[in-house]
Structure formats: C-alpha cells, structure tokens
Symmetry: C2
Subunit: 349 residues, 2 copies
C-alpha cells in the first residue's frame, strides 16, 4: 500500500452462496493475494465456520478480517421477510458495515432479492436517483456491453430508463474504460414509433439528451450480442429475462453440439482437437469473467455475484467493487444526475 | 388428390421478401412438388415478373397460379400507411383472396407489420379473441416449443396472455403434435409473487384454469431453451426481443468460435472434422426449419415468413399453412375460447 493511500474495505457475505462458504472464502483469499495490501476484506458470517475454513486453507498473513453474523438468508427466502426477521443476517451485517462507514462496499453471491432489498433499505438511494438499477456486463462480438436494469425494477417509468442511461454510461466509462459509450434503448424496431408505451416515451426523453448521452436510438434483441451499443437500457423485467436466457446459452449450445458429435467418430476427434478453442469460447461466455452485477444508485457500492459463483468469480466480484470505489463511480453518477441536462419539467416522476 | 378431398389454396406473397421474387417462387415450386396435387399455390405479385421467373425455372405442370398485384410493400414502409395507400399491394391482394374465400391461407415473407395489420384489418379477429398474437416455434434441448406473442402486441393485458395460452396450446397440440402441452408464463422468478404487474395478474388468471390449460407456472429466461414448457406465454415486446436475440445467437457463436480457431492449427483441423456436426447444429438453430410464425386469432390462416427466407424456408412456411388448415386449427381455437372455462367475470377486457 502506498503511503497516504486509504485502505479500501470490502464487506463480503461469506454465507449466502449456493456453492458454499469454503468457495467464497477461497475467492476472498485469492482476491487478497491479487489486490495486495491496499484492500481489506471483511468476511461476514458465522465466525467459527469461517475460522475453520481459513485455518484449513492456511493462508499467509493476508488483509482478511472476520465479522460475525449469527443468521444467514437462504436462496428461496422472501427478500422483505428476510430483511424484517433477520437483522443479524450476513447480508444485513455487510450492509450495516457499509452504512456505518466501516466498509466501502458490500459483495454478496447470496439471494439477489435480499441483497437488493437490504441495500436499498439500509443504505438508501443516492440523492436524485429515482430507482437504483442492477447493471450487468454482457459479452458481445466486439467486446462487452453493460445492460441495465436486469432485475431491480420489474415495472419502470420512462424517467427511470433515462436515469439508467446516465448511470450505465458512467459505468461503461469508469469500469469498462470506454471513452464515449454509445447508449441504446432496447426496443422491437429501429424507428422512434416502435415499441410499447414505455419504450416510446423513453425514446422521446433520451432523444432530448441525444448528445450528452451519446444516444444512438433503439437497439433490438439481435443488436445486443452484435455490440451495437455499449450501454443497453431496458426495464428490469425484460433485462432479467434476457440475462437468464443468455446465461443458459452456453450449456444449451454444448449439449446440442455434444448430441451432434455422438453421431460420428471424425466429429469426436475434431472435438478433441478443438477443446482449447471451446474452452476459450466458454471463458468468453462465462459470467465469472464479468465479476457480478453492480447495484447502481444506492449509497455505497453493492456487487451482486451469481449464486453459483466459483472462487474465481468471487475474486472478480471483489475486484469490480474495488474498481468502483477507486474510480469514484458513485460520486460521478451523483454529479451527472445533478448537473446533466435536466429532464423536461413535464415528465412524470 | 383423393376424390372428394377439397383442394387447399394458398395465397403466397411473391413480392415482399428481402431475398427476392425468384427465391419465393422457387420455394413455391418446391412446395408444389412436395405437397402434391391437393394444394394449389397462388403466386401473388407482378404478373410479368412472376411469369418470367416461372418460365426460367421451367417447372413441369404444377398446381401453381398467378394473381396479379400491381403494388408491393417495402420492408421499411409503415404498416398502416401501406394498408391505406396500397390497396393493390401483393399483401393486400393475398388478404382479399382469403377474405373472399378464394384461398384459405396467406403466406408472406414481407414486411411483418404490414402483413399483421393487413390481416387484422381485412380478415378481422376471430369471434371471442381479444388480441390475435404471433406464435413462433423455438428450438429447445428437448425438441421445440411455441412462444407467443412475439410481436403483434407490444402492450398487453392479463386477459390477452390468458388467451395466448389457449391459442398456443392448440398450436402445440395440432401443429407440433404434443398431446397435453405444458403452458408456462414467462417471468423473472418462480414464485407467483414475482414479476411485473402484468405477469403477476396473468399468473392469477392462468392459475384459475390450471388443469384445463396444464399450466405449470412461471418459467424464466433460462427455461425456454431448456424445454421446461411446450408453450411459453409472454407480451409481444418481451417475446420479440427474445426471438430476435435467439435468432442472432448462431451467428454470434460462429463468429466467436472462428476467432478462437484462428489461434491454433490443431483447432482449425478439428473444425474441419467437425464441419458436419456444426452444420447439424446450425440446422437445429435455423429458423428455416420452423417454417415461419403463425398469426393466431384472425379469421383465415396467416403465416409470416422471415424476411430473409430461403426457398426452403418458403416451402416450410407453406407446409405450416397447409398443416394449420388440414388440422382445423382455426376452428379448434374458436371452440376452446368459446367453451373453455370462461374468464372470471371481474376481469377487465
């Protein structure tokens, strides 16, 4: 750690993942090694369990700490009920560490609904933001793009989509290093008149700030993977359906190709020769490479990992949190929402 | 043709496709050969052009006829404007052939919006159907499923989704030969409480007819390709986004794998050996195999082909139209909507 540089503290939910506490802790150890002394990871969960795993893994002196949480939230628990009834859950303790300033970010691969609800209710929305949104990175032919919302708001208003564009642009700039990200509105046709009531109204709003947002207009389903836009804006229902669909494609593709291979020995031989290429492709399609989704618009950074995260994915999720903090993503979003071209006054809020 | 069997007449829009008139006509010739004497195909469009192509192809005596249409609708024309200003377009002439009983079905690979609008306005809705929907067949790990609506209704009400379930079930039964099709509601979680306002209300409606519809509850994005349901019900906005996304995956996958292959000669050799397997997979993912989308809920059969249809795809689309007529799909839908468990009276219409 350079002298004078503030140490970043990450509150990591050690309990919620589908893959188990050990995998999460191994991810934390990996991240601590990679990120060095400038980052401290607080493992939040049942202290004896965490301690046992840490001992078994026998890590050298690493900037890891434990914060005890006597409860944990199961994957199928209702978010609001968990928030009400489990004030000492690992997610709630993570959020309170952030809220009280003892950590800058919360990382969890647990129950997404519970993570979002707890973050929203404990940390609160950023001033000026009407609806926080979950942003997720998606691979494209050209590289990657960020899509939001992918699940925090099933029903949206046009103004929410406008703010998603502002937040997503900042994400693409600071986290994906894209100089002037192109913003596209997910729709079912290119023309402004296409779409449902929501997308038509959102198109009007976004067009009003075309230059500031680098708004390129409507993008369709086929344009997402083609990399036509760097930021794809949509309501949380459509975004979530797409994200889950896209996440299932690698396994659908590999099952389908396996069935074809079974029919001939030359194809089987070919598959053996192509193994490294397939592995490379799988890596590109793998959510683990993208380090989890970021909840944008709350106070404090919140990264939501995939429930089936490997230790590599946990490590990536921690890196994304660190990157968000170092790049001042939160402040930048706040500034753009405050100072950017204001919404037309007639817009419903 | 067996004695006493009625000859089926298909009005085929020869002009609208992106791939050109020749491809459509070759598709018609192929269909006429495959389907035999029981089906007559009426090629609708510019008579001299069609005649020239037919002569060049030099087909034997086949049950093909020409109906002249002096106008055609371009791909980027607005649907309603085309309907108003081009009463003699090939699409309009096809529809009027069906409307007047001189054909039983309309098949077009032209401007989808124009085909839907023209069909709705000329043929009209089936009695009892609130909103006709476009049903499209999607490949799954287990076989195939039918998804609707994929684009006719960007904004839907719960009762529309209920009728989509009724129509989609009949489609799966009669066209896909599935005995008791499982109906799933596309949503962003499994529990009834999940989703947006529309899907929550639709869940309640569908649950009220769980047995009659074989309603299996909510299905998520990942479940579509996994083949969890035989009928996937959704609003036309979400359905259209998904359909276009799914349609782009084969090319995204092949571009991505090609990039991986370039890195090693063993992988290149492997790819050569695997060529037949890749071709088999591409065939499974290819929309041509599925013969176009069917507009359900109008009077008269209407099949919408892909704008970039090959002659094989046109032939398939004609077969789907013939199958719909022979299986009495229209009447069956009408009966189920009339006699099936009526909607709760309190439902808004």
């Amino acid at each position: 750690m350079k002298t004078g540089e503030r140490r970043i503290r990450i509150a990591l939910d050690a309990m919620g993942s589908d893959t188990g506490c050990e995998v999460v802790i191994r991810g934390a150890i990996r991240a601590a090694r990679e990120l060095g002394d400038g980052v401290e990871i607080i493992l939040v969960g049942d202290q004896p369990t965490i301690w046992k795993t840490l001992e078994a893994e026998g890590p050298e002196a690493l900037p890891l700490r434990i914060a005890h949480a006597r409860q944990s939230v199961a994957m199928d628990e209702k978010a609001r009920r968990a928030f009400r009834n489990k004030p000492d859950s690992s997610i709630a303790v993570c959020a309170s560490l952030v809220q009280s300033g003892r950590a800058e970010a919360l990382v969890s691969a647990g129950n997404t609904g519970a993570v979002v609800t707890t973050s929203l209710l404990s940390l609160g929305r950023m001033r000026g933001i009407k609806r926080p949104a979950i942003a997720s990175v998606v691979p494209t032919s050209e590289g990657q793009c960020v899509m939001l919302d992918v699940g925090a708001n099933a029903d949206c208003k046009p103004v929410h989509l406008f703010q998603f564009a502002q937040m997503g642009r900042m994400y693409a700039r600071l986290i994906l290093d894209i100089g002037n990200p192109r913003v596209g509105l997910l729709n079912i046709g290119e023309e402004p008149s296409k779409g449902n009531a929501l997308s038509q109204a959102a198109f009007q709003l976004l067009s009003g700030a075309r230059d500031q947002l680098n708004f390129i207009g409507n993008v369709e389903g086929r344009d997402i993977f083609a990399g036509k836009a760097d930021v794809v804006v949509c309501d949380g229902f459509t975004g979530n359906v797409i994200l889950k669909l896209a996440g299932s494609l690698a396994s659908f593709g590999s099952r389908a190709i396996r069935r074809e291979i079974e029919r001939s020995w030359t194809a089987r031989l070919g598959a053996i020769l192509m193994k490294p290429a397939f592995r490379g492709l799988a890596r590109r399609l793998n959510y683990e490479e993208y380090g989890g989704a970021l909840l944008l618009g709350t106070r404090g950074v919140c990264v939501i990992g995939h429930g089936r995260s490997s230790s590599r994915a946990i490590c990536k999720a921690i890196s994304v949190a660190v990157r968000s903090i170092r790049s001042n993503l939160e402040d930048s979003i706040w500034q753009v929402v405050e100072s950017d071209p204001p919404l037309p006054l007639t817009v419903e809020s």
